[in-house]
């Protein structure tokens, strides 16, 4: 530690706290306002941060329960928020398990097995990963539109089609898991090989148990990625009951039917669980993120 003048250190501390607190206020402003709005009356609500006449109307509606106002008007929930949440969670869970299965197996091969074309494949994974899936939207729409002719299960407006597309987003995750496998001591799999284990056995019995931490990181990353996806879900899903939260929430802020209060409650309700999951996992996520991106 460098010896500093006490007085100037004190001033610096006050300045630092002041700056950080001011910044925090600006950053937190949207959250506070949204929470406040979810308890205000009406949908064009204007008022103080602490609502004058708090009401639970928007919260009832967000949970899909009808609300009886004091003046006897019965308000019906505008959208099936809980159903949308369930759709999102369902898609995210299935995709996360699928991605995990495929990418862990591939990552093991890329890390431990020498085969022809390995380096080229790895490089192409990295390059393909940089192309956003929004480039493929039109073809995906056209392909699934035709596939719907075979069976509606793999057509437009089916969750299975969407899962198939999400499953293909494995490139980055293969790199992340491979980076982790690379750091596993080679003596381990050599020992397994001496004992006569096949590549599959040493993967399943040695590497898979070791990979649980990085697999949970990838799981959460895919989960959050699917919940947050808008472009793919918005072109492949049509009916209101099939929508995910990301596509559905937009309907609240329609220019012609503006439901600011209802949206606020739905947003807090659906955002809170995901935020909590993320905050719990963030320490591991960040290391996973930077390792996968930097390490070769």
């Amino acid at each position: 530690m460098i010896v500093e003048n006490r007085r100037s250190l004190m001033l610096k501390k006050i300045a630092a706290h002041g700056f950080l607190l001011l910044f925090l206020i600006v950053i937190m402003f949207p959250f506070l306002v949204v929470i406040s709005i979810s308890f205000r009356e009406g949908n064009f609500s204007v008022g103080s941060l602490w609502p004058d006449k708090p009401t639970l109307e928007h919260w009832y509606l967000a949970f899909g329960v009808e609300y009886l106002r004091a003046d006897g008007v019965l308000v019906k929930p505008p959208f099936p928020v809980l159903l949308w949440m369930w759709n999102s969670v369902k898609l995210a869970l299935v995709s996360a398990f699928g991605v995990l299965a495929i990418s862990t197996i591939s990552a093991y091969a890329f890390s431990r097995i020498r085969f022809r074309g390995r380096a080229a494949l790895l490089d192409s994974l990295f390059i393909v990963q940089l192309f956003p899936n929004t480039l493929a939207l039109i073809a995906l729409y056209a392909v699934f539109d035709s596939l719907g002719g075979i069976s509606p299960i793999i057509g437009i407006d089916s969750h299975w089609s969407l899962i198939l597309v999400y499953l293909s987003g494995i490139m980055m995750h293969i790199w992340t898991i491979k980076g982790y496998f690379d750091s596993v001591d080679p003596a381990l799999d050599r020992a397994a090989a001496i004992d006569g284990a096949t590549a599959w056995q040493s993967f399943r019995l040695v590497f898979l148990p070791l990979a649980v931490p990085i697999m949970s990181v990838v799981f959460v990353l895919v989960f959050i990625g699917v919940i947050n996806d808008y472009p793919l879900a918005s072109i492949l899903l049509r009916q209101e009951d099939n929508l995910t939260l990301a596509v559905g929430s937009r309907l609240y802020l329609n220019e012609f039917k503006y439901m600011w209060g209802d949206f606020a409650a739905a947003a807090v309700l659906s955002g809170a669980p995901i935020t909590v999951v993320f905050l719990i996992a963030q320490k591991y996520l960040v290391s996973g993120l930077s390792e996968g991106a930097v390490k070769g």
Binding site: P30, T134, A136, I138, P231, S290
Partner: protein, 509 residues
């Protein structure tokens, strides 16, 4: 551990499952080919062959680990990108949605009512059901149909000759009530002619509007005009260039690109959108990096208390799902009842029109994107800052350097190299950050005087999305052409990232 020998039964079971899987894939490929996706069908055949070979030969054992991943990647990432670009060379869109054979069928199946054969009709109630009576042209007797419930689904009724008109018929008002159901009915006369309702009082004979000729042209039965299939444009056209719809999908070569380059109504907005896309991506990365780094440095200061509290609070914007935050900002920035304008009005007496002024809308996007993106940069910077040796900083302080000088000469040069690939990735991400644009502004306000809707805040990706899936009528071909342009730009960024990654790899090892 001894390797257990696989039993004969399970060996054959695996073989049978594999064979079933391959056959299933081949069958799907055939159907996909039939429904008009020959390219995707071909890809499925390749996938089937690769799977069959790799999983049945011991020689390719190691490839079994990578095949599943590569297959999904090929089917739903690489193929769609290539196919989208291929569509850029076609006229695929709402006017040219079908294939040639299908569009010919549609044109040939359209019917016209032959008004010369129109004759009055009446409806007879027969218990729960109805019969339709069509008068003969000379007025004596007519044709009485079989019974029908007259629901609104299409139905065909036979009829027979009767000598006199029925006495009890439904009143005009009751017939009007049935008009929807009547529109679905076709009555076949004993002579074999088909009659359909032509207005509320008459049934008339119908005939196909177009008849196919030997030379593949079609002739309009009313005007006797002849239309030839033009595979260059994907439409039936007559000698004056009039077109029949629907057209069909066809390869139009560089047509879409010519449109982009030669039509001022497209080229102008494209250029401004391109510049804004670059500007948006650069500015987003720069702001997020600067703010994230500054906060990381502040949080790294050992004298600061409650650092973990600040850290958690500061990454909140990253933890909340982006689509929710963006929509929240959409509401907050609302011109009339958004909280931000209320605050600004109270403090400074101004109410900026965030949604209609181009520059303000762009500012709004950058504010929101910085809010969303700085925590990621902050977290990364905190990691990299820890790797900078304390000793060097101390030595510099002892030599009399100020904190700023130390930061810019010691700290920054050491964290920039590992940051470069991440900054490039972030640039590539923002270059195509269509979620933000679509949810916050939808590209609005629109640029005046364009042929296709293009917005002041549109980036190339959201512009493509709008052309293909929103207001301007599904111009998939044109959107595909723009996708190729984006693809080339992204390729350049991707190559740069790749080189940067290789470099840091070299430094690290």
């Amino acid at each position: 551990m001894r390797k257990p020998l696989p039993s004969v039964a399970s060996f054959w079971l695996m073989k049978a499952l594999l064979a079933l899987f391959v056959l299933g894939l081949l069958y799907s490929a055939w159907i996909v080919y039939l429904v008009g996706q020959p390219l995707f069908g071909m890809l499925l055949v390749i996938v089937a062959v690769v799977c069959g070979v790799v999983f049945s030969h011991k020689r390719f054992y190691t490839y079994r680990f990578v095949v599943p991943g590569m297959v999904t990647m090929a089917l739903f990432v690489i193929f769609p990108i290539v196919y989208t670009i291929y569509l850029g060379f076609t006229n695929y869109g709402s006017f040219n949605l079908l294939h040639y054979e299908r569009s010919q069928q549609v044109i040939l199946s359209s019917n016209i009512v032959d008004s010369a054969s129109a004759r009055p009709f009446s409806v007879i109630k027969d218990g729960e059901n109805y019969r339709i009576f069509i008068s003969r042209l000379d007025g004596k007797g007519g044709y009485k149909s079989t019974v029908s419930k007259l629901t609104s689904s299409p139905s065909i009724l036979l009829s027979q000759d009767v000598l006199s008109a029925p006495e009890q018929t439904l009143s005009r008002r009751d017939v009007i009530k049935l008009r929807k159901a009547l529109a679905q009915v076709t009555v076949i006369l004993p002579s074999g002619d088909e009659m359909r309702s032509a207005g509320l009082r008459e049934f008339a004979g119908i005939q196909p509007e177009y008849v196919l000729q030997e030379d593949q042209s079609v002739v309009n039965q009313l005007t006797k005009e002849q239309f030839w299939p033009d595979h260059e444009t994907g439409f039936y056209t007559d000698s004056d260039g009039n077109r029949l719809t629907p057209g069909w999908r066809t390869n139009i070569g560089w047509g879409n690109f010519e449109r982009i380059i030669t039509s001022a109504g497209i080229r102008g907005p494209m250029w401004s959108i391109f510049l804004w896309t670059i500007g948006f991506a650069v500015a987003s990365v720069a702001f997020c990096f600067a703010i994230g780094l500054a906060l990381a440095v502040a949080l790294q200061w050992p004298h600061l208390r409650a650092r973990s509290f600040y850290r958690v609070m500061l990454i909140l914007p990253y933890a909340v799902p982006a689509f929710i935050s963006i929509l929240v900002f959409k509401g907050l920035f609302n011109q009339n009842f958004g909280e931000i304008n209320l605050l600004l009005k109270g403090l400074f007496g101004v109410q900026p029109d965030w949604n209609t002024d181009a520059n303000l809308a762009r500012t709004m996007l950058l504010i929101v994107n910085t809010w969303l993106g700085y925590p990621y940069m902050m977290l990364l910077a905190m990691g990299f800052l820890q790797a900078v040796p304390e000793d060097q900083k101390k030595a510099a302080y002892i030599e009399g350097a100020g904190p700023l000088r130390v930061f810019f000469t010691i700290t920054l040069p050491q964290i920039i190299p590992p940051f470069v690939p991440l900054l490039l990735a972030s640039f590539a991400f923002n270059f195509n950050n269509i979620v933000l644009i679509l949810l916050l502004t939808r590209g609005l306000p629109d640029i005046p005087g364009t042929i296709i809707p293009a917005g002041e805040t549109d980036i190339l990706g959201s512009f493509t999305y709008r052309i293909a899936f929103m207001d301007s009528g599904a111009q998939f071909g044109l959107a595909g052409a723009i996708t190729l342009i984006i693809f080339i730009l992204v390729s350049i960024i991707a190559y740069a990232s790749f080189v940067a990654m290789r470099k840091t790899e070299g430094v690290a090892s």
